[in-house]
Symmetry: C2
Subunit: 189 residues, 2 copies
DNA sequence: ATATAAATTGACTAATCACTCTACAAAGCT
DNA sequence: AGCTTTGTAGAGTGATTAGTCAATTTATAT
């Protein structure tokens, strides 16, 4: 068992439950089954651990999504996959998804270089950019379209977590929500 | 100058900048121009201060919104006012709005009784509920409609903060976004 | 086999922080 | 004027915590 990975996954669980500052490094170490010193061998500071956890989680989600997006043939399928599989990932790994948002609304976000953040969203932005230029989406700033699409996903995540529906209902309502989002953004000739 | 209010407004600024645990009570007190002991005279614990700040901020927003909503005659106007003035409030008081989200994704949320949270959203939920039953909105769970509407607002807030447009452009794009949201949720016969 | 490097430990430290306590001042009441 | 309540101050405290360090084990290379 990789100790670094063990530290990260333990930290994730504790951060979600107790918050960043509410979770002492000593507790992370002990629950991960390593010593205090080992934690600081892998991560120079606590902040570095937090940021590393964010980068890793974000990258996992992105890798997963990118694969799913590329399975789509036409744009609508790609976009649908992005929407639907973001939510499937979120529901399957609620702690990870929650952590991303928790991080986003914390001062730790400032510790991530702006370039890294841009990199994380570049693929998605490009996809949407193309759809705007092709006249599929309404002629609005790409940033706006991206933000609206993401907030739909975030909102749906919250709804799904709160309501805890069975898998069938969940699938159904995710599809409904996608149709709404599509309807909203698409260029109605 | 009311010391309690001074403590709250100082805490808000510091919490947004440094996070809850990253902000010592001693710093709140000194920057608010009161002594350490005075802070704990008004708020028994730091947690109580955080929660009080949340409740106050939420209530301020709600009171403001409720007034604006009631200025609408028909439902669409009420809903538009809710949407538009939420964003105007958010843009005018970005720290307060950010704080609400920061709080929402922190473990402090668990310290607020579920009843209080329900109370905060009851008025809005009822408004939307009515629109669903009247066949104005699509026949979807009210919770879902509420969540989607709120996430549109949150997304727009983020966009507006990021892009920092002039007032005219801002007004324009808020209206566009409302149209999109309306289009998405409304029952198309 | 030996030497060098990397991983691991856990006691330790220096600093921080939430909160207390005592003392005093101001305000309100009779 | 006395008395009580409330507000204010700020030094002090006990507990906690991020990060260090010297010592030991494990892995790697020659």
């Amino acid at each position: 068992m990789d100790k670094s990975a063990s530290i990260l996954s333990t930290a994730l669980k504790l951060f979600v439950q107790y918050g960043f500052h509410g979770t002492p490094t000593s507790k992370i170490a002990s629950e991960a089954g390593v010593s205090n010193g080992t934690l600081f061998h892998y991560f120079k500071t606590k902040d570095e651990l937090v940021v590393a956890l964010y980068s890793q989680t974000k990258e996992e989600l992105n890798t997963y999504l990118f694969e799913k997006i590329n399975q789509g043939e036409v744009f609508k399928d790609k976009f649908r996959n992005m929407f639907v599989y973001s939510l499937k990932w979120a529901v399957a790994r609620p702690e990870e998804f929650f952590f991303l948002q928790q991080f986003h609304f914390s001062p730790h976000l400032a510790l991530v270089p702006a370039e890294d953040i841009a990199k994380h969203s570049r693929q998605h932005t490009q996809l949407l950019e193309g759809a705007v230029q092709a006249g599929i989406f309404k002629n609005l700033p790409t940033e706006l379209i991206a933000t609206l699409a993401w907030s739909q996903i975030n909102g749906m995540y919250e709804f799904l977590v709160k309501c805890d529906l069975c898998a069938d209902k969940q699938e159904q309502i995710i599809n409904d929500a996608f149709d709404l989002t599509w309807l909203m953004l698409v260029n109605q000739a």
